[in-house]
Symmetry: C2
Subunit: 88 residues, 2 copies
DNA sequence: AAATCTTACGGGTGACGTAACGATC
DNA sequence: GATCGTTACGTCACCCGTAAGATTT
């Protein structure tokens, strides 16, 4: 469970589209598919469902999504703190 | 600033010894040296000082150390939550 | 038929481990 | 002189990007 994977997860969920997430993250769609697939296997649940037009978070994916977003937000703040105290 | 680097940082600081940290993390001393060196360059401060027998955190490193420990602790809890909600 | 997700394949970057060196008690 | 930290080097794994395939509207 890498940070990049969580970022991909959150972005894809918000945009409801792997292609759009790929564009937003400046990577390519297959990378999104792989990261999501890896995360699903790691968690043992399916995170997305839908068609080739649009995807949605599964019920089982909703809580992991919130937690992932929280991890990223907290990390962002904490890492900025580390940098500030380091530089100061 | 990777998670592994923060883990190395905290472990080395607690054990006051790079070799001991390497053994604790099941990696090798040069890896510790590199990660610490990279982190120091990234933060722009020296994190350790001392002799070949023992090392200590610098004053500038104390706050980054606390923040790093907090990041790891929070992440550990949050990731466990992700896994639990995923598996449940 | 066009767009999207998935799978397979090739290439490049990064990190580890080994080895050699320098320094300290 | 023995242990520890640093630097240099070779190797391997990981991840991305490209290409081809499957599916849905």
């Amino acid at each position: 469970m890498e940070n990049q994977t969580l970022k991909t997860f959150v972005t894809a969920a918000r945009l409801k589209c792997f292609s759009a997430a790929a564009r937003a993250l400046n990577i390519v769609q297959p990378a999104i598919s792989r990261q999501i697939s890896d995360l699903e296997q790691e968690l043992g649940v399916s995170l997305f469902w839908g068609t080739t037009r649009e995807v949605w978070i599964t019920t089982a994916g909703e809580t992991p999504l919130r937690e992932a977003a929280e991890i990223l937000a907290h990390e962002e703040r904490a890492r900025q703190l580390v940098r500030q105290t380091g530089e100061g």
